[in-house]
């Protein structure tokens, strides 16, 4: 068995990735808005890159904040309150 105390939550990794991706996609969307490319995709007038990138930034921020390492707020502790009894309930923390 391994120690659970120092492991970073998967949700933090996901949050960080979404945040970085969101910033890149929003940035690319804004650049396209300012300097329209010669070949534009269908429905380019909706600027999907900007709002989709913005959504990723929002999700990324929420997950990074909620599961920041050392915050003691990981999924396991959250779920251990709700898991109740089980075949091996009360075991060490999960991811």
């Amino acid at each position: 068995m391994y120690s659970e105390t120092s492991r970073i939550s998967i949700w933090f990794f996901i949050g960080a990735l979404l945040l970085v991706y969101g910033l890149l996609i929003t940035g690319a969307g804004i650049y396209d808005l300012v300097v329209p490319p010669s070949q534009q995709p269908v429905l380019s007038q909706l600027h999907a890159g900007i709002w989709w990138g913005g959504l990723l930034v929002l999700l990324g921020c929420i997950y990074c904040y909620r599961f920041f390492p050392g915050k003691g707020h990981d999924t396991a502790s959250h779920e251990s309150q709700s898991s109740g009894t089980g075949a091996s309930g009360g075991r060490a923390k999960g991811l």
């Binding site: 391994y2 659970e4 979404l18 890149l24 269908v42 429905l43 089980g86 075949a87 991811l95």
Partner: protein, 591 residues
């Protein structure tokens, strides 16, 4: 051997860099001929960050995968959500994404049956009924359960056939991914195969199932966020579902592409050439229940759950998300029917004429709607699908090979660390064999035909054996073994019969109008029936195991731990009923 592996583990960060450098070069030095679109530098950065992160997670988790329980079952500490999402992500390979989007273009909404009736009832059955058997007996694998229930011979047969099937499936996954990268980005097919496979090998060797599951959850999120843009924008362009169905009816008047059940009364009334009995009995019962309840690739994820409640809840969570997958897979295929100006054709015709094939519908839709950044995210979603599928295959292969073949037949008594080391080597071996299989698959014209054939060879009969083992006390070890063997051989025999004499299809699928997909469904049904008949017959002729040896292995021989005073909304059964009701409502809406 162990020292060599330890040395390799220390070199892991450098291996990661070695894998990523060629990728970096490929992203910027792309050949310009024969590809669907060019990547902007932002897209390249997005793809590169993804590769670095999955490798980094593998390196990070290396220290947490020390014991056999850690490496092969992720320490059995996963929450219901992690196990459930990983359970589903392992199934969402590139073949699943690309293949079923292509099938939706080819067959219309009928492809949704593989996500709804072909998955949901079986997933709920696994969570509520079968999971207690696997979890309470603390088996490491499905063949491990067969050993406890039927003995060593059944375990060996199931383990060997599973190992063969897994590497063959993994090879399909690699090949389909490399094909996409070639078509979409113009990458060399050998380059795509090796870089992507080595990336998976590195992170699974380092962190075992823990690393595979960790990355699968990440990949699950990426698949959704990368693929969801297409259906949203597609529905905006067509003016919603009604506008889309009207356009499809105008462009393809020969068949109804937008109803799930109303065209299944006759083989010739639908583009798939199938009857509702094939869908319900062949797909919905035998193949679906076989895959979702006995294929160790998916069951392994649920076995990693930290307690029985989590293990029962995980498939229910997976089922809820599985019901929504058609939104990102089937809907883009249907939208392709509605909006793409050119008509897509079969793979062989595409090769001959230079037209786009069905398999390119998802990349074509990505190219239609996604600008820089979003395109990189979409391509990353396809890569994530490939990696989650391949990691699922190789981690399951390593576990079954180590526990059910190596430890059972080669070296029974060894230290736990030795088996972990063997598991790591098996992962590398599994990846290398999968790469070899990918080159083998190139010889097949129809990948989906090959995949469905594999399922009916190995999964359909296994379901018969496991089902009788769990629910019939009288089933004997000899009955289990001979039933499994007869089911597998009969399935291969039927497949070979149609290959030699195509007219045999009408006998197996019960209609001269039946097409190849119908053959797969009925072949699965027949070989399952043969497995069950042989198991029952041989069991009545042989001596059953004493009741004391069946404790915890057969229905009615164990007592489930009480769920105590849990409120209704925390009980797996409650959520299974909710998912079941939504499943029925969806089928009625799209009838």
């Amino acid at each position: 051997m162990d020292a060599l592996l330890a040395g390799c583990a220390r070199l892991a960060p450098w291996i990661a860099v070695t894998v990523c450098m060629p990728l970096l070069v490929a992203l910027w030095v792309q050949p310009s001929n024969g590809r669907l679109f060019s990547l902007h530098w932002v897209d390249g950065v997005i793809i590169l960050i993804y590769f670095l992160l999955v490798l980094g997670i593998g390196v990070y988790l290396r220290k947490f995968a020390k014991t056999g329980e850690d490496f092969f079952l992720a320490g059995r500490q996963m929450t219901a959500w992690i196990a459930g999402l990983s359970f589903l992500a392992a199934n969402l390979g590139s073949l699943e994404l690309m293949g079923w989007a292509a099938s939706a273009y080819q067959y219309g909404i009928l492809a949704t049956h593989w996500y709804w009736i072909g998955a949901i009832p079986a997933m709920l059955f696994l969570g509520i009924v079968m999971m207690p058997f696997y979890y309470v007996c603390k088996t490491h694998s499905v063949p491990g359960y067969l050993k406890l229930r039927f003995g060593e011979s059944s375990r060996a047969l199931a383990a060997i056939t599973f190992g063969v099937m897994t590497v063959l499936m993994s090879g399909v996954n690699i090949y389909s991914m490399a094909l996409v990268m070639k078509v979409v980005l113009g990458w060399n097919i050998n380059f795509s195969i090796w870089v992507s496979s080595l990336t998976v090998a590195v992170y699974v060797v380092l962190g075992g199932l823990l690393s595979a599951i960790f990355n699968e959850v990440l990949q699950f999120v990426l698949i959704w966020l990368g693929a969801m843009v297409v259906p949203i924008l597609g529905l905006i362009e067509t003016g919603g579902w009604k506008g889309m169905t009207e356009r499809i009816a105008q462009s393809f008047p020969a068949h109804d592409h937008t109803h799930l059940w109303s065209t299944l009364g006759n083989f010739s009334d639908n583009p798939m050439g199938i009857h509702w009995t094939g869908i319900v009995l062949g797909l919905g019962f035998v193949i679906s229940f076989g895959y979702w309840t006995t294929d160790f690739l998916v069951v392994q994820r649920v076995l990693s759950a930290r307690d029985l409640r989590s293990a029962r809840m995980a498939p229910v969570i997976g089922a809820a998300f599985k019901m929504a997958v058609p939104f990102i897979v089937i809907l883009p295929g249907l939208l392709g029917l509605a909006v793409l100006p050119e008509k897509l054709v079969g793979e062989s015709q595409a090769v001959a004429t230079g037209a786009h094939s069905y398999n390119e519908v998802l990349p074509l839709m990505l190219a239609r709607y996604c600008g820089p950044g979003l395109l990189g995210l979409g391509i990353t979603a396809l890569m994530a699908g490939f990696m989650s599928g391949m990691a699922g295959n190789v981690s399951a292969f390593a576990t079954v090979w180590t526990y059910d073949i190596y430890r059972a037949l080669v070296r029974k008594q060894a230290a736990d660390a030795h088996y972990v080391s063997v598991g790591r080597w098996c992962t590398i071996l599994g990846v290398l064999i999968s790469i070899g299989t990918a080159y083998l698959v190139m010889q097949f014209l129809s990948i989906m035909d090959y995949v469905q054939a594999l399922f009916t060879f190995f999964i359909a009969p296994l379901f018969g054996t496991v089902l009788l083992g769990m629910f019939w006390k009288r089933a004997t070890p000899a009955g289990g073994f001979w039933g499994l063997l007869a089911g597998t051989l009969s399935s291969i025999g039927m497949w070979a019969w149609v290959k030699v004499d195509p007219a045999a299809l009408s006998y197996i699928a019960l209609s001269p109008h039946a097409k190849s997909m119908a053959e797969n469904m009925y072949r699965g049904l027949w070989c399952w029936l043969i497995c069950v008949a042989v198991t029952v017959t041989v069991s009545f002729l042989t001596k059953p195991k004493p009741a004391a040896e069946l404790a915890g292995l057969v229905y009615g021989t164990y007592v489930l731990p009480s769920e105590g005073e849990l409120p209704l909304y925390k009980r797996p059964v409650f959520w299974a009923i909710v998912v079941g009701v939504v499943f029925i409502v969806l089928n009625i809406i799209f009838w």
